[in-house]
Amino acid sequence: MSPSEGSGAETSAYKPYTNVRRPGGEPLAQPKYRVLVHRKHEARWLSITEHVPLEQAQRFYDHVSQTPSRPAEGIQLTHLRGSAGAAKDGWSRVFHWRVPGSAARLDYVHRDDYVGERGDAHAIVRIKAISVSSH
């Protein structure tokens, strides 16, 4: 027994060799949408937390994987205009997610009935573009 155990003394929160709790909160329930990113933006996605706080990146992911067409509280979610933002080939208009306090912007489309190679329908989100440059 350590000196503090059972003595009523305040125990230390320091626990060596124990992983810290992951910041950003737990993920939501099973994703409703499979989330894909354009291969040309894959590197940007993998390094997104260098430009955006982890909590914001996870919030984006949880939003698009659950309710991509709904407004997100406290987030500037709009549609791109012109040919870059038009709906086509069964996909939604292009949503534009601007991360507050950051230069990062993410554009995505979604589709509820995407038929894959196996012939079954999926709900898919495609991240079409990521920009992290300052405007």
């Binding site: 060799y17 205009r81 012109g82």
Partner: protein, 173 residues
């Protein structure tokens, strides 16, 4: 806002009829003529705030209208040619938009200007301008330009939820 007819007082009224001056200012506009003829105006602070807001809205609408007229003229006269920067007024960012999108920009901004005038509000302008500006700034990024405007480009891979990297536990001998 209509133009209220101001009640006029002389500077000597401030001492002799101070209460009357204040009461008139509470009800509307008071003009006090100083001894040298300079005209001073007194009114409620919230009325001044409203006048300043109206001035700002009018200024924003006027500025947007001036730029709109420049861009509209350039797009309508040469619809297949990208306007020069000098023809874009305050909307310099529009140079990043495809030429084919400029007529849509003009159409939406015409509608936004009309609504802004009718409602005397900058919100319709801000909403449309912000969306078009964000679009243009995305297209300024060469990689985003390529994937947003590319045709039939279906090269997508799975995106995992961002997580912190796992912390390796030290090996205890």
């Amino acid at each position: 806002m209509g133009h209220a007819t101001p009640t006029i007082f002389q500077s000597s009224d401030l001492n002799q009829r101070g209460r009357a001056v204040l009461d008139a200012a509470r009800e509307g506009l008071v003009r006090v003529r100083d001894k040298d003829g300079v005209s001073l105006v007194m009114t409620r602070e919230e009325r001044l705030d409203e006048m300043e807001r109206s001035r700002d809205v009018g200024s924003a609408i006027a500025s947007a209208t001036a730029t709109f007229m420049l861009v509209e003229q350039a797009v309508e006269h040469r619809p297949k040619v990208k306007p020069a920067v000098a023809e874009l007024g305050d909307w310099v960012w529009a140079r990043h938009l495809p030429v084919g999108d400029l007529q849509e920009l003009v159409a939406e901004m015409r509608d936004a200007l009309y609504r802004a005038c009718r409602e005397f509000s900058v919100e319709p302008l801000q909403e449309s301008l912000s969306a078009w500006r964000e679009t243009a700034m995305m297209l300024r990024d060469p990689l985003a330009h390529e994937t947003l405007l590319g045709e039939g480009d279906d090269d997508y891979v799975d995106a995992a939820r961002p997580e912190v990297e796992a912390v390796a536990e030290p090996v205890v001998a």
